[in-house]
């Protein structure tokens, strides 16, 4: 019997009014895989993330993480079973500092009353803060941890959000356009960093318009178009697939989609 996939999306349906944004979508993300989720603007990629992370309830189908059905779990509890995500439009807490934002990512790990009531804000050399600083360093984020996030460059904030998502110790990490707005050097660094953490056993699902980033990082790809799954296979084959070319790649629309993705 083959091992349970890390994530199984099975016949998932989601409608917003008359618009079907997930139309009987099924795909598996194998344990330890680095998978891309691509598709044109408005295809339903972010919505798929929102369904998996519990922002919206699904209208049909089933979502399971490592064999456990999670689609009935409230959003708050999904991070606890090992699911973590970032957001397409940066959603760092504007009034928290860099280190405070990262330490917020540890929230589910602080389960005891003692850890909830420890003054993490004062413990300069404390365990929680050290772990957060360590992760920031690993990700190559070289800023004062006590600085305000609002003043930092876009690319740095984007990376901080990835680090925050990592702090909960997830089994599945979902990143929504992590490379959007990064320059080529930052994109390469991010790719290397993600490969490093994937080696530690993490499963990755990445929405991205930057196809060179996708080719570099992800061995497998699923493609959504108008809420329907039109491709599920190796990233290598995606360029040659007729349906994908028609909907997304190999047309001038790629450039437009990429531009819009970066602006978002």
């Amino acid at each position: 019997m083959p091992a349970e996939p890390m994530l199984r999306v099975s016949h998932v349906v989601k409608r917003f009014g008359g618009l079907t944004v997930a139309d009987d979508v099924s795909f598996d993300v194998p344990r330890g895989a680095k998978m891309a989720l691509i598709g044109p603007n408005g295809a339903g990629k972010t919505t798929m993330f929102n369904l998996i992370s519990g922002v919206y309830p699904i209208d049909g189908g089933e979502i399971s993480l490592d064999g456990q059905v999670i689609d009935a779990l409230p959003a708050r509890k999904r991070i606890g079973v090992g699911l973590s995500r970032s957001f397409q439009n940066i959603r760092l807490m504007p009034h928290l500092t860099v280190i405070e934002n990262v330490m917020l990512g540890q929230h589910v790990q602080a389960t005891s009353l003692a850890s909830l009531l420890a003054p993490v804000g004062w413990q300069r050399g404390g365990r929680w803060r050290r772990m957060a600083e360590e992760r920031l360093r690993q990700a190559g984020i070289d800023v004062d941890p006590d600085s305000a996030v609002s003043g930092l460059p876009y690319g740095v904030r984007k990376k901080i959000e990835v680090v925050r998502a990592l702090m909960s110790g997830p089994r599945l990490l979902m990143l929504d356009e992590p490379a959007a707005g990064l320059n080529p050097r930052e994109t390469a660094e991010l790719s290397a960093f993600l490969k490093g953490i994937a080696e530690d056993g993490l499963t990755l699902l990445v929405v991205e318009h930057d196809m060179s980033f996708v080719h570099d990082l992800c061995e497998q790809t699923v493609v959504l178009n108008f809420g329907r799954l039109i491709y599920d296979g190796p990233t290598k084959g995606v360029q040659d697939d007729e349906a994908v070319r028609e909907a997304y790649l190999g047309t001038r629309r790629v450039a437009t989609a990429e531009g819009a993705g970066r602006a978002a």
Partner: protein, 290 residues
């Protein structure tokens, strides 16, 4: 201490505790314009326990806090169904109901008010104010405080991060009730008299202003806000009735110049000794280089 000074210190201590009550919910993004209602319940609970039930202060004050904590807990459920300006209105309505009830209730003396036999002096008020200040500073440094501030900034993302948003909000309303009750009980025991008219809408507005003008990002905010609001009117006393005009203009200017409050996180960081030292070093370094 002169009687005049003692009076100012006493009201400053009571206002500070009251401001922290409003602060803890505001720090988590909830605006409570019903502060006077909570304070009134605390004051009347202590007054009743003292004058009718003849209980000593060490029972009346904790009992008043327990009652207002329970009220805060219960009221949080309907109030948290509302947001933004509707929450402001809901809490305001709550305070009006409390004031109206006390004014008409014969049990609590109606418009005549109640005399409170046991007196609590200024040293006790100072001790309580210092204790509450330290407690809130500590709370804001914990993970709970971090979660409160995260909720203030972004509720949906806090939820995704695993924060039990509703539980934190209910807890802050409960704590706010307890603190407002403490301030009310201390008021009753210090001034030896309570009357419903004192706990009016203007008081609720003032205490929320203390907090918003002081700043809701750090526990320094209510401290600065209470000092500002308690001391400035006193300093302006020489100006006669013009002082209210000056005071009003000062408030408007504050809001225009520092919309996030007088004390922000950035201001605290800039004034912290650690940063001050490093900055001094760089300034010296620049001078060397130049």
């Amino acid at each position: 201490m002169s009687g005049y000074m003692a009076g100012i210190v006493a009201i400053l201590c009571i206002n500070l505790i009251f401001a922290y009550a409003i602060f803890v919910t505001a720090a988590a993004g909830q605006l409570n314009l019903g502060g006077a209602g909570f304070q009134a319940i605390g004051a009347y609970a202590a007054a009743y326990a003292s004058s009718v039930l003849m209980q000593p202060v060490w029972i009346t004050i904790p009992a008043a806090m327990a009652i207002t904590a329970l009220v805060g807990f219960l009221i949080s459920f309907p109030v948290l169904r509302t947001r933004g300006v509707y929450m402001v209105l809901a809490t305001f309505a709550f305070a009006e109901v409390v004031a109206g009830f006390l004014l008409r209730s014969t049990t609590f003396g109606g418009a005549i008010g109640m005399v409170v036999p046991d007196h609590v002096g200024v040293p006790v008020l100072i001790a309580c104010a210092v204790g509450v200040t330290l407690l809130v500073f500590y709370l804001m440094a914990t993970r709970v405080g971090l979660a409160m501030r995260a909720i203030h900034d972004d509720e949906p993302v806090s939820t995704i991060m695993g924060v039990n948003v509703r539980a934190v909000q209910v807890a802050t309303f409960t704590l706010a009730g307890a603190l407002a009750g403490l301030s009310g009980a201390l008021y009753a025991h210090h001034f030896s008299f309570v009357e419903a008219q004192y706990f009016n809408a203007l008081l609720s507005i003032y205490v929320l202003l203390f907090v918003l003008i002081g700043g809701t990002q750090t526990a320094w905010g209510p401290l600065v806000g209470s000092l500002f609001f308690t001391l400035i009117p006193e300093l302006l006393r020489v100006g006669g009735s013009w002082r209210y005009v000056v005071f009003g203009v000062a408030i408007v200017l504050m809001m225009a110049i520092r919309p996030e409050g007088i004390v922000t996180r950035q201001l605290v960081a800039r004034l912290s000794p650690r940063n001050w030292l490093t900055r001094r070093k760089t300034v010296l370094g620049e001078r060397h280089a130049g």
